[in-house]
């Protein structure tokens, strides 16, 4: 059940499967579920929610880790030192 126990072939399939699901959701949105009450222009763009999910995930994690490494993170016993 753990990451190690997933076979390599299974691990290789995660990205294609998730990508396929995402594409399918975009198609469903385009054909069957356009924005119910669009307010901004991009509400008409199919898949913008998926784009926000994936895009902001990559940007937030990479930027935060960078700032963490450079400035914010300290060894665990940092608080106890004087």
């Amino acid at each position: 059940m753990t990451a190690r126990k997933l076979k390599k072939s299974q691990r290789d399939r995660v990205v294609p499967v998730l990508s396929a699901v995402l594409v399918a959701l975009v198609l469903v949105e385009y054909f069957f579920a356009p924005h119910y009450r669009p307010v901004f222009p991009w509400h008409h763009l199919p898949g913008y929610m998926g784009l926000i999910g994936l895009g902001s995930c990559l940007i937030v994690v990479i930027l935060t880790k960078l700032v963490g490494k450079l400035v914010l993170q300290r060894p665990e016993d940092w608080d106890e030192r004087d």
Partner: protein, 564 residues
């Protein structure tokens, strides 16, 4: 329902007062009965029930049960019942009593009919939280408790000064909608924003909550922040600064959660993020937004409680609470894993759980008010919520590479019952949103389960999952602590306090035995309230602070009264 119109905090306060006189087994039942009685009394109150008391010639409106307060009070009382079941194994006198007074403080705030009543229950929240944090008895909990107290005393003083200035200007303690302009309203707002944990006034939350006992944290996570959200929603709806503070807060919480390794601290940052949605909704102030605030607060109390309960179960069973020390316990802790996932899906807004039906209200309200950056910030915060509580936390706690964590203690049935109760509420109110929508204060026409909402939510979640999988090597916990803004002032304040203490020490030595005797008396006074003998220095600082605060309050009151 005539005849039993009693303020719901009363059974909680009586229960807390009786706690020391009762044996440990009885305390469990007393806590449960007092919470259940509060719930029953609340349900029995007629709509728009009010109660006034005259004290020292001042008429106090101790209860005002309108729709806005009622939905918060309903969540608080139901949650108090669930948390009392969760804490069945906890039989400590002080822990039991202060968990009841904490609930009383929260319920008192959301039912307060005027500003003086609000302030009294506000301080009851602070004091109860402090002693609950101290129940852990560790050195870290003691220190975090003092830091908690300093910030909340400062916030409380701001609130009090604001209330007195308001009284000076208007001659009334009415707790109604105000405009966020001028010293009085800003001082009140700063006091409320401190308790709502709005950055940079938030540091007490991730600092203190994870240091309480597993039972203490479960109580703490529900009341203080949501009571403050209520106060903001009552006093300052439709305030531009709150929109931006809330949206930034929603992002701040998830960004700090990226770096967090301690599971309860990670959840603490997510409280900040979720309360951000609520503060933002208060700022937007439309009917839809205020309903979103109330619905999200209601949902948050249960899904965040469920997550804190599951994290507590992991810590209780394994004795470990860090991502880097956990992993590989999915099989032995399968039930806890399922409850964690229900809480995680709820907080992430996965349909059909309750986060989906409440978060959408606030995000839609931002869009309908033509605020593209706010909508975008809240959507990114949704991504971060799912990334950390829906993927990172369960993956590295239960799956991931085993780091030698093992189940050493069986999780008690009482904890499972409580988690089950919270999980049922999260699921049922998600599937049948009208259960919550019908309790909300404003009229609205809103359908969460339209195809575009559901597909949009699923797109965000799948996109986030894809990002998680691509970056999973980077996302594991790291054995580090993260500096937050408190480190900008913690060292300087500590230096000032220790030099003042050194000076006092020198002066005190001259006074000789008298000082020692006084110190021993003060420590003896506080000792029953703590698990561990408190250090003399900290206790003295506490007493001095309390005296200064009382003096400042009296002085201010005098100035205001003399000036009017």
């Amino acid at each position: 329902m005539n005849g039993i119109e009693i303020h719901p905090v009363l059974p909680l306060l009586i229960g807390a007062a009786l706690m020391p006189a009762i044996n440990p087994a009885g305390r469990r039942w007393l806590a449960l009965l007092a919470s259940a009685a509060a719930l029953a009394l609340l349900l029995g109150l007629p709509p728009d029930w009010r109660q006034t008391v005259t004290l020292l010639g001042q008429e106090l409106s101790v209860a005002r049960v309108d729709m806005l307060g009622r939905v918060f009070a309903l969540a608080f009382t139901i949650y108090a019942v669930i948390a009392s079941v969760y804490a069945w194994e906890e039989t400590g006198r002080a822990a039991k009593a202060f968990s009841l007074t904490l609930a009383a403080g929260g319920i008192g705030v959301v039912l307060a009919g005027d500003l003086l009543t609000l302030f009294s229950f506000w301080e009851l929240l602070t004091v109860s939280s402090l002693f609950l944090i101290w129940q852990n008895g560790s050195k870290q909990a003691l220190a975090a408790g003092f830091r908690y107290l300093l910030l909340h005393l400062a916030g409380g003083i701001c609130l009090l000064m604001g209330i007195l200035l308001q009284w000076q200007a208007t001659g009334s303690f009415a707790f109604e909608t105000m405009r966020l302009a001028g010293a009085a309203s800003w001082l009140m707002a700063i006091g409320m924003l401190t308790n709502a944990a709005v950055p940079p006034l938030h540091v007490w939350l991730p600092d203190a909550y994870p240091r309480a006992t597993v039972f203490g944290t479960v109580f703490l996570s529900a009341f203080t922040t949501k009571a403050a959200v209520y106060a903001l929603a009552r006093a300052f709806p439709h305030s531009e600064p709150l929109i931006w503070l809330g949206a930034c807060m929603a992002l701040y919480g998830v960004i700090f959660a990226v770096l967090e390794n301690d599971i309860r601290r990670l959840l603490g940052y997510h409280i900040i993020s979720q309360v951000g949605y609520m503060v933002c909704g208060v700022g937007l102030g439309t009917g839809l937004a205020i309903n979103g605030v109330a619905a999200h607060a209601f949902g948050n109390i249960f899904y965040k409680g469920l997550l804190m309960m599951s994290a507590g179960a992991v810590i209780y069973a394994t004795g470990r609470g860090k991502l880097t020390e956990l992993g590989g316990i999915a099989k032995p802790m399968l039930v806890t894993l399922i409850f964690t996932m229900i809480g995680a899906f709820s907080i992430s807004g996965v349909p059909p759980f309750n986060g989906f039906v409440s978060k959408s209200l606030v995000i839609s309200a931002a869009a309908y008010e033509y605020r593209p950056p706010i909508e975008l910030m809240l959507l990114i915060a949704s991504m971060g919520t799912f990334l950390h509580t829906g993927l990172k936390l369960p993956w590295f706690t239960f799956f991931g590479k085993a780091q030698g964590a093992a189940v050493k203690r069986r999780v008690p049935t009482s904890m499972y019952i409580a988690m089950g109760g919270a999980a049922i509420i999260c699921t049922v109110t998600g599937i049948f949103p009208n259960l919550i929508y019908s309790q909300l204060p404003m009229e609205m026409e809103y359908h969460p389960y339209t195809p575009d909402h559901v597909v949009g939510a699923l797109q965000i979640l799948v996109g986030t999952a894809l990002g998680f999988w691509l970056l999973r090597g980077k996302l594991g916990g790291e054995p580090t602590v993260t500096l937050d803004v408190d480190h900008l002032y913690r060292k300087p304040i500590w230096l000032a306090v220790s030099s003042a203490a050194a000076a006092a020490e020198t002066a005190g030595r001259l006074a000789g035995d008298a000082r020692k005797r006084l110190g021993a008396e003060i420590v003896a006074l506080f000792q029953p309230l703590m698990q561990e003998r408190p250090p003399l220095l900290s206790t003295l600082v506490l007493v001095i602070m309390a005296v200064l605060v009382a003096l400042a309050g009296m002085l201010l009151g005098y100035v205001v009264i003399a000036g009017s």
